[in-house]
């Protein structure tokens, strides 16, 4: 027996070890750390040293620190339970400022020089946490506490209860600063994706790599080898580490194998697609400039082998959450891989042989093992340590860290055993998570008392090694190699099982044991969410017996670890309570991601201004030179207005632009409007179906305004179609709907009228198009369009179009159409010449004091002219509402015409588009205001319609608006109230024609 004595400080750390390898009092010899490379780091502001190859957890343990966090609800002191990504307890805030990341698992945080870590969910300090007072009120804070307590008074919920709960909830905190790091995304393809590089994964990779298959080997750890790194046994006649090194060298020499350490496969999706997060720079202080911190990979695999290993499970007993109590396999990993013992004296509590392996390794490393407590009466003996067969740990002591455990021996007596750490093993659970991402359900295997992959796995996936319940190293190697051969065989790639080294092949010897029934205190199942055996019993008592209900009621299995160490315990307790077997109780559904993924990683490069691509007009560069203001419209950056020197308000610029256009001439880049090229012998008939109005008889060289309806008869887009030839039209759409209209046309062509011989293709970006509007538009254009083309009213009348040349021979298209109500043209040239054309137009227009104008002036002028736009085509209006009922041709079939005829859309008091003018010309007309009769209550029932668009008209010298008014066609001259209850405004308005300027259209036909 090697039981010893230890002195413990208040924080639970040991003080007796003296200086070993610097201040690392719990550092042992050997391991896979590089003791020649010291890493300095801080935890809660205190300086420590570790070694290259350490994790934060191993380095802290080496320094005698077991207390690393506080629990979620009760603020109980906690230390690491595991040595991997399944860690529920040792969650810290890493880094500071914009890089601060909460809830980072110390067990997988690779130590780097200068690491800054802080504990979380405590105040004012980890050792003295004020909120640990919650622990005193644990009887009131059981499962369902929130649901029962905050029911009433109802008014308190939003203002009182929720803010308090939100403040108290959560573990770590965000710094609220922008993350300065870059993230990336990528796409990979392979024949075989191997998930996990333990012995099974490595054997599979060797087998597949040697025959030339395209292989990706993804491993979440920074070392390949999996459990081999944590064990003391060798393979063949060499150590595990030496065998891993040999395999790594061979794989590195194979160009067809891509080895990806620090890469966690987090999701399994359809068609063999997997998502994986590669932590490129989490192991350094900061990424190199321009380099990503993490990459989210989408992996397209033909076949996948899951070799994710297994997770050890704890046994629940009273006060089983003290720092120093950890899983036996994890403790073996700390001892063998990181050369660290969590304390100088250790006890072991197990229900299987694996716990004995931990005791043996600890003893071999010189750690004092005070007891092996085995629930099995026939437990095998362990050399050099006292065995308590048929015994249980029934309680523990130690305020901030374990100091002793109390045993109930097989004889019935109790005994206290001093120890600074307790290694617990309740058996191992295969990591089946990814097999369930597409609703696969695992099956129970009684011999290992665990669920294994079963049923319908994601297509193309097979499972090897411990993930499939084959726990010995020999079995892992064997199934790995055979799994690769089988997977490749499916792909027609012949492979043979690689020669494998001799390895341990111990059988699983386990007696299922989930929790200690003795004791009135709390026995913890889910350490992250503070869920106890009692909570599960309470859930059962209150009839939350389905596992899904159990999870939600108690929070068992939620948060960052997703219950990797707790789910089985909860299921076992519930199974016992309902008198069923565990597999009858079932499992909750595993969903991606397997481990937490940072939001930045999901966003990748799509952040800030690069959130989505922008589209720039051909005149963008020129407009920037003029100091233009831009606005985003359907991803386009359109010019809003062009401020001039001395103008301090946008209205000054816009009013000036409008007045000058109406007086002389202005130019606007209208390239953003969609342009769809429609060709073919049936092009006209096709457009007859697409538009509500007729296009069959449109003459070549003419343009017609058109309205498009949805299938339900609601108007959704408008624009023009120009007939360039008998079999050739150019359709224009609104900027925002360009893609939608094109998509609808393609659908109509392929699916609705496949017999029509028509071809459509977008040419929006191929042509730079400018509107030239105003009384002097023709004079200006005559200086640009080559002289052989006659632009007179007779030769090129309103709604004419044609191909011309400009500036000495450049091909161009000219359309005489007007959105402003003025004499206007739109001229289009190949986009590369758009910049040149705007400069030429502006130069040519100098003698007319030409102005460039943006979308605001465009908007003012179209309201003055009564043209409907997006505000009126708002997804609720029909052609009738817009005053275009007669455009819906009854002589032909078109999308939406049948629905347009529905009675509900043709009521006598239907909304109609009208113009609105303030009775008092100084009153503003506000879009969104509702129209009420001049006298009467203001209410939804009395609503007469609403104002869709409004602007200040510099021509009329007052605000004007367009609106939809019940029976609006018959109410001209009526005085209404435009009410805005939200802002408490009410303005008297007169119903007028929507055509405020040039109602007869004389200007545009001039």
């Amino acid at each position: 027996m090697n039981a010893g004595h230890a002195d413990f400080r208040a924080d639970g750390s040991t003080a007796n070890a003296g200086a070993k390898r610097g201040a690392q009092v719990n550092r042992l010899s050997g391991g896979l750390v590089n003791s020649a490379k010291v890493m300095n780091f801080t935890f809660d502001g205190k300086a420590f040293q570790g070694y290259e190859g350490d994790t934060l957890a191993s380095a802290l343990l080496a320094n005698g620190v077991r207390l690393m966090g506080r629990s979620f609800k009760y603020h109980r002191p906690r230390g690491p339970l595991t040595a991997g990504s399944e860690e529920p307890n040792a969650l810290v805030e890493l880094r500071s400022g914009g890089r601060q990341e909460p809830n980072t698992r110390a067990t997988v945080a690779e130590l780097y020089e200068g690491m800054e870590a802080n504990s979380q969910n405590r105040w004012p300090s980890l050792e003295r946490d004020f909120m640990s007072i919650n622990d005193r009120f644990s009887n009131f804070l059981t499962a369902g506490f929130y649901y029962k307590t905050f029911m009433w008074p109802a008014a308190f919920w939003e203002k009182v209860y929720e803010p308090i709960i939100r403040k108290a909830a959560g573990l770590g905190r965000l710094s609220m600063e922008d993350d300065p790091d870059a993230y990336d995304k990528g796409f990979l393809h392979c024949d075989l994706l191997i998930i996990g590089a333990g012995p099974a994964g490595l054997a599979a990779a060797l087998t597949a790599g040697r025959v030339g298959a395209q292989v990706i080997l993804a491993e979440e750890d920074f070392l390949l080898g999996g459990r081999l790194n944590a064990e003391s046994f060798g393979l063949g006649d060499i150590s595990g580490a030496a065998w891993i090194a040999q395999v790594c060298d061979e794989l590195a020499a194979l160009p067809n194998v891509r080895v990806m350490p620090r890469t966690t496969v987090v999701g399994a999706y359809d068609h063999g697609v997997y998502s994986a997060v590669e932590r490129v720079a989490d192991h350094v202080l900061a990424p190199e400039v321009g380099k990503p911190r993490q990459i989210l990979w989408r992996i397209y695999s033909k076949r996948a082998l899951l070799s994710a290993g297994a997770t050890e499970r704890p046994i629940a007993f009273e006060n089983n959450d003290r720092p120093g109590i950890m899983l036996a396999g994890a403790m073996r990993a700390y001892v063998n891989r990181w050369a660290v013992t969590p304390a100088q004296t250790v006890a072991v509590f197990t229900n299987n042989d694996d716990g004995h392996r931990t005791a043996a390794d600890l003893i071999a490393k010189g750690v004092k093992v005070t007891a092996v407590v085995d629930t099995r009466a026939d437990a095998p003996k362990v050399e050099g340590v006292e065995l308590f067969a048929g015994a249980q740990v029934i309680d523990t002591k130690g305020r901030l860290g374990l100091t002793s455990v109390r045993l109930r021996l097989a004889s019935g007596i109790t005994r206290d055993i001093p120890c600074g750490a307790l290694a617990v093993s309740g058996g191992w659970n295969p990591n089946v998570h990814l097999t369930c991402h597409q609703r696969g359900r695992p099956a129970w295997r009684e011999d290992i008392a665990a669920f294994v992959p079963a049923g319908e796995l994601p297509p193309g996936m097979s499972v090897i090694g411990a993930a499939n319940g084959d726990f010995s190293t020999a079995a892992a190697l064997r199934t790995g190699a055979k799994g690769a051969v089988a997977a490749l065989s499916d792909l027609g790639i012949a492979a043979t099982v690689a020669e494998l080294p001799q390895a341990e092949d111990a059988p699983v010897n386990l007696q299922a044991f989930w929790y200690v029934k003795e004791g009135k205190g709390r026995a913890w199942l889910d350490l992250q969410n503070d869920v106890t055996v009692k909570d599960v019993k309470l859930a059962h008592q209150e009839n939350f017996r389905s596992v899904e209900h159990l999870k939600r009621y108690t929070t068992l299995g939620m948060a960052t670890d997703q219950g990797k160490t707790s789910n089985m315990g909860g299921l076992a307790v519930m199974a016992e309570l309902v008198g069923k077997q565990i597999p009858e109780v079932g499992t909750t559904m595993f969903r991606p991601p397997y481990t937490p993924v940072a939001m930045g990683t999901l966003a990748g490069r799509s952040v800030g201004e690069e959130f989505r691509p922008t589209r720039k007009t051909p005149s963008h560069k020129w407009a920037e030179e003029q100091g233009a203001t831009f606005v985003e419209v359907g991803m386009w950056l359109r010019t809003q207005w062009f401020p001039r020197k001395g103008e301090t308000h946008w209205r000054q610029s816009v009013d000036r632009e409008v007045l000058q256009i109406r007086k002389s001439v202005g130019i606007c880049d209208v390239t953003t409007l969609g342009k769809i090229d429609v060709q073919g012998p049936d092009a006209a008939e096709f457009l007859n179906h697409i538009y509500a109005n007729a296009f069959g008889k449109l003459a070549v060289g003419k343009v017609r305004y058109g309205l498009m309806l949805r299938e339900d008869g609601i108007a959704y887009d408008d624009g023009t179609a120009a007939r360039l030839a008998e079999d050739h039209f150019v359709v224009t759409t609104t900027t925002a709907n360009a893609v939608l209209v094109y998509r609808n046309m393609e659908f109509a062509r392929q699916c609705l009228w496949p017999d029509l011989d028509v071809q459509v293709i977008s040419t929006t970006e191929a042509w730079a198009q400018f509107a030239v509007a105003g009384p002097n538009a023709r004079k200006l254009l005559q200086k640009i369009v080559d002289p052989e083309f006659d632009l007179s009213n007779e030769a090129f009348p309103f709604m004419g179009c044609g191909e011309v040349t400009v500036c000495g021979g450049l091909r161009a298209r000219l359309f005489r159409i007007s959105f402003s109500g003025e004499l206007a043209f739109e001229i289009a040239v190949p986009t590369r010449y758009g910049d040149g054309l705007i400069r030429a137009l502006m130069q040519a227009g100098e003698e007319f004091d030409v102005v460039p104008y943006g979308t605001e002036a465009l908007g003012v002028m179209r309201i003055e002219k009564g043209h409907a736009a997006g505000n009126e085509l708002n997804g609720t209006t029909s052609a009738l509402n817009l005053g275009m009922a007669r455009m819906v041709s009854k002589k032909k079939d078109c999308i939406g015409n049948t629905s347009s005829a529905r009675a509900g859309m043709n009521q006598d008091d239907a909304l109609m588009l009208v113009g609105l003018k303030p009775v008092n010309s100084t009153d503003p007309v506000a879009a969104g205001s509702h129209l009420m009769n001049a006298i009467g209550v203001v209410s939804a029932e009395a609503d007469q319609g609403y104002i869709t668009s409004a602007a200040y008209s510099p021509v009329l010298g007052c605000s004007i608006g367009l609106g939809l008014l019940k029976n609006g066609g018959n109410r001209k001259g009526e005085i209404l109230r435009a009410v805005n209850p939200l802002e408490g405004r009410e303005v008297e308005v007169e119903v007028v024609s929507a055509h405020f300027v040039d109602p007869e259209g004389e200007r545009l036909r001039a």
Partner: protein
């Protein structure tokens, strides 16, 4: 000769070139483009006309082909994009239409697109961060449609593992170029 000066999709007077260690990104603004869509029931005639008059055999799905001064890639069922040197073939659409007559619909596409030629030893490493195409398994002559930075693009394999053309919407040339540069910087 007209008096208007052309600018490149990136807004310069000459194409932009960006060098990285093992990667060259070259804006290529000297390509003329025209789409051909075969008319219904005239597909064979359309292909034959292009072959006999332009000397170009229209390619199969997901491929590009070359013939004389012309190149073409497949864009969809009975739909191709014809490409030629812009300096010599600025009126490409007119000439193609002349070749196919009433058996095909032709639209000028020259300035609807921007093109970046990406080449060098690191080209595949960069593309695997840009799009989901399996370019490592591809060969010269492949022509694929792919979403790059949310933009619908064509990716032509000019030389397997060494040189590719990315053809994207011209108005988003800046955004596409930014994505190429950012990715290159991220990888190299």
């Amino acid at each position: 000769m007209h008096s208007l000066k052309a600018i490149t999709p990136l807004g310069g007077t000459c194409p932009q070139i960006d060098h990285f260690d093992g990667l060259l990104i070259s804006e290529n603004s000297d390509r003329a483009l025209a789409s051909i869509a075969a008319r219904q029931g005239r597909e064979a005639e359309c292909s034959a006309a292009v072959q006999s008059i332009l000397g170009l055999k229209l390619p199969q799905p997901a491929k590009w082909s070359i013939g004389g001064a012309y190149m073409a890639w497949w864009m969809g069922p009975d739909l191709w994009m014809v490409d030629a040197d812009h300096t010599d073939h600025e009126l490409l659409a007119v000439n193609v239409k002349r070749a196919v007559g009433s058996v095909g619909s032709v639209a000028e596409q020259t300035d609807g697109w921007c093109r970046f030629d990406v080449s060098g030893a690191r080209v595949l490493d960069v593309f695997e961060r840009l799009c989901n195409l399996n370019l490592r398994a591809g060969e010269a002559g492949d022509a694929h449609r792919a979403s790059i930075e949310h933009l619908g693009c064509f990716v032509l394999c000019l030389e397997a593992g060494a040189k590719y053309a990315v053809i994207g919407p011209r108005s988003s040339a800046g955004a596409l170029h930014h994505a190429l540069l950012t990715t290159a910087q991220s990888v190299i």
